[in-house]
């Protein structure tokens, strides 16, 4: 097991340094992070998180309109596995693939540790309308689709190291990921659970679920790609 305290302290130190980053990088904000700033800060394998924070934010909130995921409070194991999958190309995203390939194993551990120790931020789910949260709360057992909440927890707040929170992500990100599971452009997760389930979901199912967990009302179509 990793030493959480150590990473937490290091995370705080990095956080202070990062407060100045918007000034330093503001001029280049429109540029994609083709040259991630991963540097050694002198002690240990100190790792600047600039490459991550430029898109995911210092607070790990991501970007709703762009569909960039919120990372704060996500499980360490999950974050680490995703970075490894980006590095290997199993999870496909041009920006993340190019960044992850430059990361050392220590960098990956450091980045995952940094975001996992930030407190998660949940939002009230938009609607209690039974027709919109049907799959999330009741599943569709006639097709062996369990409720999402059965593994991701009530209101999708996440369970343990392998079932990340859905609550808090944008509709656009969630929709992209369910489609990616369906197409196989990201690893299908432990026991192939998500690959197996996503293949049974229609586009309409995916849109409904994505809006539900993002807290959007069913009629709010903003931000859909």
């Amino acid at each position: 097991m990793m030493n959480k305290t150590k990473y937490f302290e290091r995370g705080k130190a990095s956080l202070k340094a990062l407060l100045f980053l918007p000034l330093a990088f503001g001029a280049h904000a429109e540029r994609l992070p083709s040259q991630p700033q991963i540097s050694t800060e002198g002690e240990g394998s100190g790792f600047s998180l600039t490459a991550c924070t430029r898109c995911h934010g210092v607070g790990g909130d991501g970007n709703t309109a762009e569909g960039i995921p919120r990372l704060r409070g996500l499980p360490f194991t999950y974050l680490k596995e995703q970075l490894q999958a980006f590095a290997s190309g199993e999870r496909q995203n041009p920006i993340m693939n190019s960044i992850a390939r430059t990361l050392s194993a220590d960098d990956i551990t450091h980045a995952a540790s940094f975001y996992t120790q930030l407190p998660p931020l949940f939002q009230p789910l938009g609607t209690k309308d039974e027709s919109t949260n049907e799959l999330a709360v009741h599943g569709r057992w006639s097709e062996n689709i369990p409720p999402c909440d059965d593994c991701h927890g009530p209101e999708g707040k996440g369970v343990g190291e392998n079932f990340p929170a859905l609550n808090g992500q944008s509709a656009r990100y969630l929709e992209n990921q369910l489609q990616a599971f369906k197409k196989g452009s990201r690893p299908s997760g432990p026991l192939n659970l998500m690959g197996n389930i996503a293949k049974k979901l229609s586009d309409a199912d995916i849109q409904t679920l994505s809006r539900y967990y993002s807290g959007s009302s069913p009629r709010d179509t903003g931000g859909q790609p």
């Binding site: 409070g73 039974e130 062996n144 369990p146 927890g153 209101e155 707040k157 343990g160 197996n196």
Partner: protein
């Protein structure tokens, strides 16, 4: 000819009335059509049904006085008690009153529910007529009365599973568990809690699980349940042998005492566990089962 067509139409419409499906679909392919939550009536009866559903979903919260572990009804009875193969509530309701070898007499549905609390919930039986039992009975009655049920699926309890070709093994079961179950139920069978504190994956053994008197503490029932329903969403994916082996591994751990305990494990075994489907009183992995959980 005209007569024949009319007859055909009549048969079709009758069949359609009966099950909501065209008549040319053979009965074995009819699904069970079970009522959805929005079908619960908005009246006094509907209130009891809703209360029963709440108890079913979060038993520790809504029937706290009668629950002694972390489980809820819905942990085993999937799809809120609807799913065939996970001892669905509607099939149980249809089946009672029934004779049970467990207590050598005919039990009402309410009496059967009492035993769920006594054994599976490791708690105590609500008295007959208690609002908890009335609510659960209302929920089961509502579900059964409003269901269009595939006659092939009416069997209560769990499906029967063929005996394994090789006697079940703790060691093989341990491997099956690590590969298929640990992800959700944890390395020590303790289950997992969601962010926010709700139990999501139920504990399979230990102090917070069902006790030795529960149906699920029998190898044949556990193996059949696992084969049919586990891992969640991948029911049927384990081989029969794997299901028996992993059931043996699960039952090879201790759990809360049987409430019928007489003061002696040997005597309790002779009286209530005299079957090869119970490991109570057996020495498994260096521990005589029935003496209390050793983990935590």
């Amino acid at each position: 000819m005209k007569y024949l067509m009319t007859l055909a139409l009549l048969v079709t419409s009758l069949a359609t009335l009966g099950n909501g499906l065209p008549a040319d679909v053979p009965p074995e392919e009819w699904p069970s059509v079970l009522p959805a939550d929005h079908d619960i009536p908005k009246d006094e009866f509907g209130k009891m049904v809703r209360q029963g559903q709440l108890i079913f979903s979060d038993t520790g919260q809504f029937a706290r006085a009668y629950v002694g572990n972390d489980l809820s009804c819905r942990n085993c009875h999937l799809d809120q008690g609807r799913k065939a193969g996970s001892a669905p509530l509607w099939a149980a309701f249809l089946s009672y009153p029934a004779y049970r070898a467990k207590n050598h007499r005919v039990n009402t549905f309410e009496e059967r529910l009492q035993d769920c609390f006594r054994y599976s919930m490791n708690g105590k039986a609500p008295p007959l007529g208690d609002p908890v039992l009335v609510a659960l009975e209302s929920y089961a009655y509502w579900m059964e009365k409003n269901a269009k049920i595939n006659p092939r699926l009416t069997e209560r309890g769990f499906p029967k599973l063929q005996k394994p070709s090789t006697p079940p093994s703790y060691e093989r079961g341990k491997i099956v568990y690590a590969n298929n179950c640990e992800l959700c139920h944890g390395s020590n069978g303790q289950g997992r809690i969601a962010n926010g504190g709700h139990l999501v994956f139920p504990p399979l053994w230990g102090n917070r699980s069902f006790n030795w008197g529960a149906g699920m503490a029998h190898l044949d029932k556990a193996a059949a349940y696992i084969k049919t329903n586990m891992p969640l969403s991948l029911g049927g994916s384990l081989s029969n042998q794997d299901a028996w082996d992993v059931a043996y591994f699960m039952e090879g751990h201790d759990r809360p005492q049987d409430p019928r305990y007489t003061g002696s494990v040997d005597e309790t075994r002779a009286l209530f566990h005299h079957t090869q489907n119970s490991l109570y009183g057996h020495l498994v992995a260096g521990h005589v089962l029935g003496n209390g959980p050793v983990s935590k």
